[in-house]
């Protein structure tokens, strides 16, 4: 999978649900439609919940990478 260029980065490792989602939402609100946010979240509860909520808000998850250290790197295109 080719790397998609991101316009902003948000590292939410160690941030609990649902604060991580709220922070993601606030960050996306500052961005333009079509721009890509790179998001780093923990394994476990965050990866179970955050992608669902992002989709429900109408954004698109364009890339997902599982990192070895127990976290995920997502790229989200603002919808």
């Amino acid at each position: 999978m080719a790397d998609i260029k991101s316009d902003a980065l948000l590292d939410l490792r160690g941030v609990m649900c649902p604060i991580n989602f709220v922070k993601t939402k606030l960050k996306l609100e500052t961005m333009e439609e079509g721009e890509v946010l790179e998001l780093v979240i923990d394994d476990g509860e965050p990866i179970q919940n955050v992608p669902k909520s992002i989709k429900e808000e109408g954004h698109k998850i364009v890339e997902v990478k599982k990192e070895k250290e127990g976290f995920f790197r997502l790229k989200i295109q603002k919808g």
Binding site: I47, Q48, P51, K52, S53, I61, V62, K66
Partner: protein
């Protein structure tokens, strides 16, 4: 609140009333919904609120009526989601019923009949919701409310397997389910579905990241569908897991699952046939769970076969392999 209903003591109350020269329409009381309080002459008036949903306009009107008739100015949310106006004098039943009628608010039932259905928020606004529980509760209330049965008959609708409406404790419960189907070409092997699945029904292939699905572990919650970034997991069909014979009370019983994917369009028929079976087989004062124990589940399932075959268990093709 104790199941201590005026209709069961109608003769006694009638005698008392005659002595006092009061006019009370006993047809109003027959429907139930007037529950004797500890306090002399005072009753709780239980309203009929299927699924616990009320328009704000109606709620405002109800609160005006409650304020007028409740001697203590209090209401209580019943355990089955309906509003109860407390401390109402029985001499004012006719007036309160007429005023409630004017705003389109009916009084609920109690006793041996089909009760007001309860329901969670459902798919209309709850992200977990798979079925429109509120619409179903309204439909069932319209069609079946007050239908006589050997004992009380409680129904509920949960929109997903979290089962907030406790279908496992109902005489007849409906819980939303979705059958997931995987479309391989769209899958990028991102592994989110395996993370999202709380039942370990999906594990990721160590090399490709693509899902290996074990349908025997799936509880049909749809978390994989909602989490999938590429729409590779899709909904094949929605339906209701149907449970029968549950109750709480002094001797709780857990309901048994009798149908896995009943479509929306068959719910009314399932209730109609089940009530028919219950009325034919149940003894007076016997909950349907005990009737099933006495008569046998097979007898019921044979009777229901024409309805339940529409919701047979899904045949999965295990993806990822």
């Amino acid at each position: 609140m104790a199941d201590h209903f005026i209709e069961d003591k109608s003769t006694k109350v009638a005698v008392n009333l005659e002595g006092m020269g009061e006019k009370v329409n006993f047809n109003d009381l027959k429907s139930g919904g007037f529950i004797k309080q500890r306090q002399k002459d005072l009753f709780a008036v239980r309203l009929r609120c299927p699924g616990g949903r009320l328009s704000t306009k109606k709620l405002v009107e109800i609160s005006k009526i409650a304020d007028k008739y409740s001697k203590k100015g209090v209401v209580h949310f019943s355990f089955r989601q309906s509003l109860e106006i407390l401390y109402v004098d029985y001499k004012e039943f006719t007036n309160i019923v007429a005023e409630l009628e004017k705003i389109g608010q009916k009084v609920a039932s109690c006793g041996p009949r089909v009760r007001v259905p309860t329901a969670c928020g459902g798919c209309e606004y709850n992200p977990n919701g798979l079925t429109d529980t509120q619409k179903m509760a309204e439909m069932v209330d319209q069609k079946f409310f007050g239908t006589p049965t050997p004992h009380k008959f409680k129904t509920s609708f949960s929109g997903c397997p979290i089962d907030c409406a406790r279908t496992k404790e109902m005489d007849f419960g409906f819980q939303g389910v979705v059958e997931p189907v995987w479309d391989e070409p769209l899958c990028t092997g991102c592994t989110i579905c395996a993370q999202a699945c709380k039942e370990d029904a999906i594990v990721s292939d160590p090399d490709s990241g693509k899902p290996i699905f074990d349908p025997s572990k799936c509880i049909f919650c749809g978390d994989c569908i909602r989490a999938c970034p590429t729409e590779s997991w899709k909904a094949k069909r929605y339906g209701h897991t149907v449970r029968i014979g549950g109750k709480h009370g002094r001797h709780p019983m857990e309901a048994v699952e009798v149908c896995q994917f009943l479509p929306d369009g068959k719910v009314a028929e399932a209730i109609e046939k089940t009530v028919e079976w219950y009325n034919a087989n149940g003894k007076r004062g016997e909950r349907i769970g005990n009737t099933l124990k006495r008569v046998g589940l097979k007898n019921y399932l044979d009777f229901m076969e024409p309805v339940f075959k529409s919701g047979e268990a899904p045949l999965f093709k295990a993806p990822g392999k």
